[in-house]
């Protein structure tokens, strides 16, 4: 992650990483999640789902910061984000975004 200056508490706070889960067959291809992901994690795929739409796929899985914006912007309830498994047990305080 890039910073324009080094934060003073960088060693104390860990940036969370999320894992994006997509229910491809619920998707209707509106691309709201792809358009508004602040880290460009998602992109539209070329494949078709059961309804004939193009669902998104996770392009840059390591960039996800668990902000849950794609989850909030999905009209089909087809995408959600969880904290990565290895970070769930982490002892360091995690700087969680607004939920």
């Amino acid at each position: 992650m890039k910073f324009w200056r080094k934060p003073l508490d960088l060693d104390k706070i860990t940036v969370p990483h999320g894992e994006v889960h997509i229910f491809k067959d619920r998707c209707k291809g509106c691309a709201f999640c792809v358009e508004y992901c602040p880290k460009d994690v998602l992109d539209m795929s070329e494949e078709f789902n059961i309804k004939g739409y193009h669902p998104p796929y996770v392009k840059n899985p390591d960039d996800c910061l668990e902000c849950h914006l794609c989850e909030m912007l999905c009209p089909e309830f087809a995408i959600f984000v969880t904290l990565k498994e290895e970070e769930k047990s982490a002892k360091v305080p995690i700087n969680k975004g607004e939920k």
Binding site: H21, I22, F23, K24, D25, R26, K28, G29, C30, A31, F32, E35, Y36, N49, I50, K51, Y53, P55, L69, E71, M72, L73, C74, P75, E76, F77, A78, F80, T82, E98, K99
Partner: protein, 295 residues
């Protein structure tokens, strides 16, 4: 939630589903999904914000009832796992008033569209605001009667095309926050579907208020409003909201008119206290009974 039957599972196999359950599934009737709303419609986002607000507000969902009328947004009651009423056209506020008065322990949410609440149900809307009945009204405004094929609604902006206005709409539209404010609502806010976080916070706040609260949600209608007016699909409307929405909290509700493709002012406009209908009624009843010696 009821386990879907084997037949439904066979019709809708979901082999691509990743492990885990969507966090909103406990508040939705997943057996009725996929919902009927078109691709790039914004009503799903209003439901997302509403379910997120329910989780955030930490409200007992067993003591809550959701009432919808007719129209695209009228389907919401069927998709949300609360005590749901899908009522006749324009009457959700009347049904909600009945629920609230018959059982004052229940929190009523009216979730309906602009054609249902402001056109056919316009009188119920202003009179419920006048009486200050304790309910939350979420009015999804997509500027058109979408389910019946894109006719002119009382919120269609001037000069916008619709199936029944081939030369552009000549009727000045309603300003929903202004009606609600002047009729006496205690909480009035307007957000677009792009502002999901602010919308969630607004609904959470409005759920805690006692009195008639109105949250207007401006929603894209990719299939009728923006197709007939050649504005692209819902994603282009979301981009338009991104560029043309101005947030002015506490703005005078007179200035909130929406023109065709003009700036949209969003924010929380009214947040005040007024005695609600049930409070007034109970107080009046005890006074009268006391005077007659019946109390």
């Amino acid at each position: 939630m009821e386990e879907p039957t084997k037949a439904i599972k066979e019709i809708h196999p979901d082999p691509s589903a990743t492990s885990g359950v969507h966090p909103m599934e406990n508040l939705l009737r997943m057996e009725r999904m996929p919902h009927i709303w078109c691709p790039t419609c914004g009503i799903g986002l209003a439901v997302t914000a509403f379910t997120a607000a329910l989780t955030k507000a930490n409200i007992d969902t067993n003591k809550m009832s959701i009432v919808s009328g007719i129209g695209c947004t009228g389907r919401v009651a069927g998709y949300v796992k609360l005590d749901s009423f899908h009522t006749t056209h324009g009457r959700p506020i009347a049904f909600g008033t009945g629920i609230r008065v018959a059982n004052p322990g229940i929190k009523v949410v009216v979730f309906s569209g602009d054609g249902d609440l402001i056109a056919i149900g316009g009188n119920h809307f202003i009179h419920a605001a006048r009486r200050n009945i304790d309910m939350l009204v979420i009015c999804v405004n997509n500027f058109i009667y979408a389910m019946t094929g894109g006719q002119v609604a009382p919120t269609t902006p001037l000069a916008a095309y619709a199936t029944t206005s081939p030369y552009g709409c000549v009727e000045p539209p309603f300003n929903i926050p202004y009606i609600a404010d002047s009729a006496g609502a205690v909480y009035v806010a307007r957000w677009t579907t792009l502002h999901v976080r602010r919308l969630t916070n607004s609904i959470t706040e409005a759920l805690q208020k006692t009195g008639f609260s109105v949250v207007e949600v401006i929603s894209p209608c990719g299939m009728y409003y923006s197709r007939i007016n050649r504005l692209g699909d819902g994603l282009d409307m979301m981009r338009f909201y991104h560029d043309n929405v101005e947030i002015r909290n506490g703005e005078d509700t007179k200035n909130l008119d929406i023109g065709f493709q003009t700036k949209i002012i969003c924010g929380k406009f009214v947040d005040r206290e007024r005695p609600s209908y049930m409070e007034r009624y109970n107080q009046w009843l005890s006074e009268v009974k006391g005077a007659r010696g019946e109390g």
